[in-house]
């Protein structure tokens, strides 16, 4: 059982905008050192939650803590421990990239190590000439890279990243994942909102799914993946009889022809393998369950 202070903790956290309830009584605990994927459709309340953690928005009810510091009462201490990348980075466009990073570094409670900043900018493929250009000349991908640099440069123990890879090219996505792996190795916690389920599947330890402001699923990624069936396709070398009637309920028949069975199997493949004994199996294709098979269901309606 974990005894450390959660990196992110919310209790009954609620935010109303007039009649709209953007976040409803959110109870969440993200352990330190985890990469937590925060998922949901547009308008589900992901960004609002992150902004509540940063005290940019005042909660209508409930409370939130960052590494043991109340986000409202002790907001300065809480934010001193967090690096933030907004979904839409709002840099002044008449500033250069270097100036923007400089101002944010000077405002940071954490000393920015020059060597780390240089390494970070190299890994994000920033050249000196890029940093000396005005941000108005940057592409949207460059602006996002600058926002990543600003979030990571303080080496904060908690990173709050709002859709960080949106608009990044595949090489930069890889560079970002490598950075994420590095900060995770150093023990930092990452709270990451994303639409990209394959990305979440790849980098997150645990996910939370938000639907219209309510947390409808919170579990480790492996566990969520196991909630989805495996897709099994068996091809026979010659015609065989239909599958036996006595299969357990965890095996669902999708389609059957004399030479091919398509099945959906939850849990163990044992009953299927047993029933194939003596049959002329030519090919067996098992597709691992994917996170999105489960998550998309939760987006639509909680099962």
């Amino acid at each position: 059982m974990a005894t450390t202070t959660p990196a992110v903790f919310t209790s009954g956290l609620t935010k109303r905008f007039g009649r709209l309830v953007a976040v409803k009584a959110l109870d969440l605990a993200v352990e330190q050192g985890q990469v937590f994927g925060f998922l949901g459709l547009n308008g589900a309340g992901k960004t609002t939650t992150i902004r509540l953690l940063l005290n940019l928005l005042r909660p209508s009810a409930g409370r939130a803590e960052v590494l043991g510091h109340d986000c409202q009462a002790d907001g300065i201490a809480a934010r001193a421990l967090a690096g933030y990348m907004p979904g839409e980075p709002g840099f002044y466009r008449d500033m250069t990239g270097r100036q923007a990073l400089g101002v944010l570094a000077r405002l940071s409670a954490r000393k920015v190590r020059e060597a780390w900043q240089r390494e970070l900018l190299e890994r994000l493929a920033f050249r000196d000439a890029d940093l000396d250009r005005r941000i108005r000349e940057y592409s949207s991908g460059m602006r996002r890279k600058l926002a990543i640099a600003s979030a990571f440069q303080g080496e904060a123990p908690l990173l709050l990243l709002d859709e960080p890879t949106e608009g990044l090219d595949p090489l930069m996505q890889e560079a970002f994942y490598a950075l994420l792996a590095d900060v995770r190795r150093r023990g930092a916690t990452v709270f990451l909102s994303s639409h990209v389920l394959s990305e979440v599947d790849r980098v997150c330890d645990r996910i939370g799914v938000l639907r219209t402001g309510e947390l409808v699923l919170e579990a480790p990624v492996d566990e969520v993946r196991r909630m989805a069936p495996q897709h099994v396709r068996i091809v026979f070398g010659s015609a065989v009889a239909p599958p036996p009637a006595g299969w357990p309920a965890s095996v669902e028949i999708v389609s059957v022809t004399p030479t091919e069975w398509r099945l959906r199997v939850r849990g163990s493949l044992g009953p299927v393998v047993q029933s194939m004994g003596g049959l002329p199996v030519a090919d067996l294709d098992v597709r691992e369950p994917r996170l999105e098979d489960v998550v998309i269901q939760y987006y639509r309606e909680a099962p």
Binding site: R51, L54, N55, L56, L57, R58, I76, A77, R79, A80, A82, Y84, P86, E88, P89, G90, F91, Y92, D94, M95, Q99, V103, L104, R106, L107, S108, A109, S150, L160
Partner: protein
Amino acid sequence: MRAAGVLVRHSMGRMKTALAVMAGALALFQVLLAMAAAELQRQGTFEQLASLVPAFVRELFGTALLSMMSFSGIMALGYYHVAIVAVLVGLVVAVATEPAAEVEAGFADLVLAQAVPREAVVARSAVMLALCPALVIAAMSAGTFAGLWLAGPAAGSAPPPRLVWKLAAGLWAVLACWGGVSLVIGTASRRRAVAAGVAGGSAAALMLVDYLSRVWKPIRPIARLSPFHYYNPLDLVMGKPLPPGDLGILLGTAAAAIALAFVVFRRRDI
């Protein structure tokens, strides 16, 4: 305080070109005004102009009108002419609506996601509101002195330096007052255009009310709501002192408004 200092430096860096251009242009205007006043005095035009003013206009505006038609009156024009005052009000509105611009652009998110208290953002704006008009008015005053040195009348008949300081102090106080009010609007708004529209439009309306109240008695009680009511440069030209009561009202309003801006910005959603 450190964060407020960083933000002041940042804002000043962004505004420096606009400030330098404005200060330079207004200083040059002051030099030209002094030269023009000297020329008018040499030609004896002030007396001719005064004799052309119809009696009813004299009655309406009193001796203030005649004081305008003097070397000091023309020299002081830069400190009360509606166009100059409008430009300076525009400057303070631009400075005071910076918090709204930062919220709108998302820069406030980046700043306030750091360990920066919200008060630092308002403190930055308050410092900028004191500093920016002061720098421009200081440049104007330097322009006035330069103009007097270049083309002023003989030492005995030249306007005293104290007049320039009084005009500068009065103008700064009225700008500080409106800057404070604009800051409340700027800290409460999500969009700079809206904040600047409300602050600038209200300033124009209040300036108009003040002008009208000088010729139309029924609106004089309303004119008390206008900060421009408490700045009478022509009285200063006529040698009257800067009224401490008026100065107190302007600076008191500025202080109260800035305090309110702190509260508004602390409580709002960004």
